[in-house]
């Protein structure tokens, strides 16, 4: 019923890259909000918890989108094939 699944090195590299992009995006949002609301630059570090949480949220949203795209592509391929 259950099959062993293999996570390839390529997949791991890709997920790490996606996670890093999400983290970078969250950092950029933090920088934007510091500038936008005239907050102290110390928030670049003090808000790191918020940044990680935001990065995780973005990653989760991206994952949902990617899964949906993958499902649609699979269905289309199956229909054609």
């Amino acid at each position: 019923m259950f099959k062993d699944s293999v996570i390839t090195a390529r997949r791991k590299r890709r997920e790490l890259a996606v996670a890093l992009v999400c983290f970078g995006l969250a950092v950029l949002i933090n920088v934007y909000s510091i500038i936008r609301f005239n907050c102290p630059w110390s928030e670049f570090f003090t808000q790191i918890g918020f940044v990680i949480l935001l990065a995780a949220c973005i990653y989760a949203v991206l994952a949902a989108v990617r899964l949906a795209v993958h499902a649609v592509v699979s269905i289309v391929r199956r229909c054609r094939g």
Partner: protein, 420 residues
């Protein structure tokens, strides 16, 4: 107020001891010396033998604290109502029992008395107890009439005995911490003082037979009590004098029986305004047919509002949130707020949604244990703490004046003769 500034009761009291009971804190609360750790140490091993006059619900509440105070020994109980005397005896089975307070005062083993009887009895009992050479702790309010309060004050002075009135807020660390900042001017000048006490209950106690109605429900009858103004307001009115450092110069008010028309004689709703010399107003409002707002004591300063029982500060300009939180709030507002096609010409000033900052989250109790501890220590040392009786006197006078202003339908003034 940052977290590192928050302290609990134990460390607060220890700090008072540690700084030699000097400094701003003690100049604002000089009576706290009487229950400082050093004073407790100085009186350890000694006992004050107490007689309790009035073992009703309030008397037994006080007795529950006295059980745990090492310097207190309850040796005699007195109550004219048998069931209450029995309940008191269950707490202190070895104590001698009396049904007449003068017999208790003749008991040579009694050093001091705790009086928790109806308001109209306070004056005679306190005077007799002081005359008999006993130290006295009497429940608030001090007495039914201003002149009686004054006579009690003078009697204490002439006899040199100890006289405490049960204004436990004077010993509540939450109030001290807040008042210390207010008096220092940390939040700007005091601009208003709001006190309110809302309940939704008839304020009655169950009566086993009709002839006991007035004896048990004495708070509802003018012969014994002034109702809300002497049983509730006197606790809160000291907040204004404490925060402003002044006495009100005039008082006006209104009151009536609007809901509990059950034969009672005291008001079931009152609204009283006291005005200080600088024009600042203090209000006391009480309704016992709606409990929504509960009990509140708020000092409104120019830069902050201090909720005393809730022990929180609400700044007029709350500390700014982080950029991320502001961004999220802005996005939320953009997504969830209603679209406005035409601006209104008038907007209601809605209350601030700020949750405020805790003043003393670890504080426990309401000061009752501390005031009883201070009383026992004072009985043992023979030293009357400074200002404590004056604070109680003026809060009682203000309560009585408020009730008189309602009854007479006039603005009453703080007369020269009321000043001690």
């Amino acid at each position: 107020m940052k977290d590192e500034k928050l302290i609990d009761r134990r460390s607060f009291l220890s700090r008072l001891g540690g700084i030699g009971l000097a400094g701003a804190a003690l100049s604002a609360f000089p009576w706290m010396e009487s229950c400082s750790p050093s004073r407790n140490d100085a009186t350890s091993g000694a006992k004050v033998r107490l007689g309790i006059i009035g073992t009703g619900s309030r008397g037994r509440y006080l007795m529950s604290f006295l059980k745990d105070i090492p310097q207190a020994s309850v040796v005699a109980l007195c109550d004219i109502y048998g069931p209450n005397l029995e309940l008191g005896a269950e707490m202190f089975p070895d104590a001698r029992r009396y049904t007449e307070y003068r017999r208790l005062l003749e008991d040579r083993d009694v050093d001091a008395v705790v009086i928790a009887t109806p308001l109209d009895r306070h004056f005679r009992m306190v005077m007799d107890a002081l005359d008999s050479g006993r130290d006295v702790y009497c429940e608030k309010s001090m007495a039914y009439h201003i002149d009686e309060c004054r006579q009690m004050y003078m009697k204490r002075k002439s006899t040199g005995r100890i006289l405490f009135i049960g204004q436990q807020r004077l010993f509540d660390p939450k109030y001290h911490k807040a008042m210390e900042s207010i008096v220092r001017g940390d939040f700007g000048p005091v601009v208003n003082v709001r006190n309110y006490w809302f309940r939704n209950a008839d304020w009655r106690r169950p009566v086993p037979s009709p002839e006991l109605e007035r004896l048990i429900n004495w708070r509802l009858y003018r012969e014994y009590s002034r109702g809300l103004m002497t049983e509730l307001a006197c606790h809160q009115l000291q907040n204004g004098t404490w925060a402003t450092g002044m006495l009100p110069v005039k008082v006006m008010g209104a009151g009536d029986i609007i809901y509990w028309k059950d034969g009672r004689e005291v008001f079931d709703n009152v609204c009283v305004i006291y005005t200080f010399p600088n024009g600042v107003n203090m209000t006391f409002e009480s309704v016992i047919s709606n409990a929504h707002f509960g009990m509140g004591e708020q000092i409104l300063c120019k830069d902050a509002t201090i909720d005393l029982p809730g022990s929180r500060i609400f700044r007029e300009t709350p500390p700014a949130k982080s950029g991320m939180e502001q961004l999220i709030a802005q996005i939320e507002k953009g997504v969830f707020s209603n679209s406005v096609f035409a601006g209104t010409s008038w907007n209601a000033e809605t209350a601030s949604a700020d949750r405020g900052e805790a003043i003393m989250p670890e504080a426990e109790g309401d000061g009752t244990r501390e005031i009883l501890q201070a009383f026992c220590n004072s009985c043992i040392t023979g030293k009357m703490p400074p200002r404590i009786l004056e604070e109680a006197y003026y809060s009682s006078v203000l309560g009585i004046l408020g009730d008189e202003a309602i009854l007479q339908g006039k603005t009453l003034y703080m007369e020269e003769g009321f000043i001690i």
